[in-house]
Amino acid sequence: MNKEKSKNNIWRGGERPMEASYGKLMMWFFLITDALTFSAFLGAYGYHRFSHFEEWPVADHVFTHFPFIHGHYPLFYVALMTFILIVSSVTMVLAVHAGKHMNKKGVVFWLFLTIIGGATFLGSQAWEWYHFIKGTKHGAILVTSGQHGQPRVAHYVDSGSHNHDDGHPNDEHSSHSDPYSKESLIKFHEEKMEKEPFNYKYLNGNVVPKELLKEGKIIRGAPLNGDDAFQYNEYGHTTFSNFFYFITGFHGFHVFTGVIINIIIFINVLNNVYQRRGHYEMVEKVGLYWHFVDLVWVFVFTFFYLV
C-alpha cells in the first residue's frame, strides 16, 4: 500500500515506513542490543582464552559425558542440545505460520511442542552443569607456579593415553563403596605422587616439578558454593569455568524466560485472545525472541565447544 505514495509522504505519520508494527520493531531493536551483549560476552571469552592460551582447556576434554553411557564422548551431548533447540525453533516457525492462516489448532499444537523443546533444553543444560560442577573422578592438582603466583591446574595423565580421566566409575578395583568419595580421591593422588610424579602434567604438556606438586592442592569440579566458589576449577584457568557459568547461564536464562513467555502466549491462544483480535502477531513477536535464543546458542556452540 505504501508503493503508491511518494517517498516524501511516507514519513509524515500515520504510516509504517518499515511495514512493521511498533511491537515488532521494538522486538527487533531489543534483539540487536541483546546480540551486542552476547557478542561482548563471547568476545571477552575469546580475549581471556587467547591471553591465557597455555592454561585454557580443550572443550573436547571437558564435556565428554553422555547420559547412561560411560566413556569419552566429546561433543555428542551438546550436539543433541543443539538439535533440540533447532527442532524447537522449527516448531516455533510452524506455529507462526499457522497463526498467519488463523489456524488456532495449528498454533496450539506447534507452540506446545516448542514449550516442550525449550523445557527439554533447560533440563539438558542442568544435567551438563551438574557434571561440570561435580567434576571427574580423579580431579586435578592446583599448583602455585603460574605467572604472578597464579595457580595452575595439573592433571594426572595415564602414560597410556593423552586424555585425562573421564571418570569411569569401574576402571579401578578399589574396595571403596563410592569411587567418587573424597577419601579415595586423596588416597589416589598420594599414591600416584609417590610412585609416578612424572605423570602429572600441566595443560600444555609440561611435567610439574616434584616439589611444587607436593605443595599442590587436590581439587575436583568447579564449585559454585562454599569457600572455594568461583576460585578454581579442575579443567583449566579459573576464568574458564566462570565464563562457562556466565555465558551458558545467561543463555539459559534467555531460554527460561522464553519458555515462560511462550507459556503465557500459549494460554492466551487457548483463551482465543488472538482469535478475537483478528491476528496472531503476538506469536510472531515471541517467535522472534525464541529464534534469537536459538541463534545465540548456535554461536555459543561454535565458540565454546567447537573452536
Partner: protein, 107 residues
C-alpha cells in the same frame, strides 16, 4: 507485503541446519589433520570452517525463521548494519589485544 514461506520451505531450512550441525560435529570429532595444520590469518582452517558454517546457520535462522528476508529493505538494513559494524569492530579490538597480551607474557 511479506511473502509467506510455505511449510515446505521451513522444513528445507530445518534440514539445512541439521546437516550443517552434523558436519560441524563430525569435523569436531574427526579433526582432519589437513584442516588442523593449515592456517589462514592465524586461525586454523578447521576453526575457520566452523566460523563460516556458523554464519551460514545464522543466515538461515535470521532470514528464513525470523522472516527478515521478506521484510522491507530499510528495516533489514537498520537491523543488520549496527550488528555488522559493531560486532566485528568489538571482536577485532578484543582479539588483537589478547594476542598482544599473550605475546608480551610469553614472548
Amino acid at each position: 507485503m511479506s511473502k509467506e514461506n510455505s511449510t515446505r520451505e521451513i522444513w528445507l531450512v530445518f534440514w539445512i541446519l541439521l546437516v550443517v550441525t552434523a558436519i560441524e560435529v563430525i569435523l569436531g570429532i574427526v579433526k582432519p589433520s589437513v584442516l588442523v595444520d593449515n592456517y589462514i590469518i592465524g586461525v586454523t582452517l578447521l576453526n575457520m570452517t566452523f566460523i563460516v558454517l556458523t554464519i551460514v546457520k545464522a543466515y538461515y535462522i535470521v532470514y528464513a525463521f525470523m522472516h527478515l528476508g521478506s521484510e522491507r529493505k530499510n528495516l533489514k538494513m537498520s537491523i543488520l548494519l549496527p550488528v555488522w559494524i559493531l560486532i566485528p569492530y568489538l571482536l577485532f579490538i578484543l582479539l588483537t589485544e589478547s594476542t598482544f597480551q599473550e605475546f608480551m607474557l610469553h614472548g
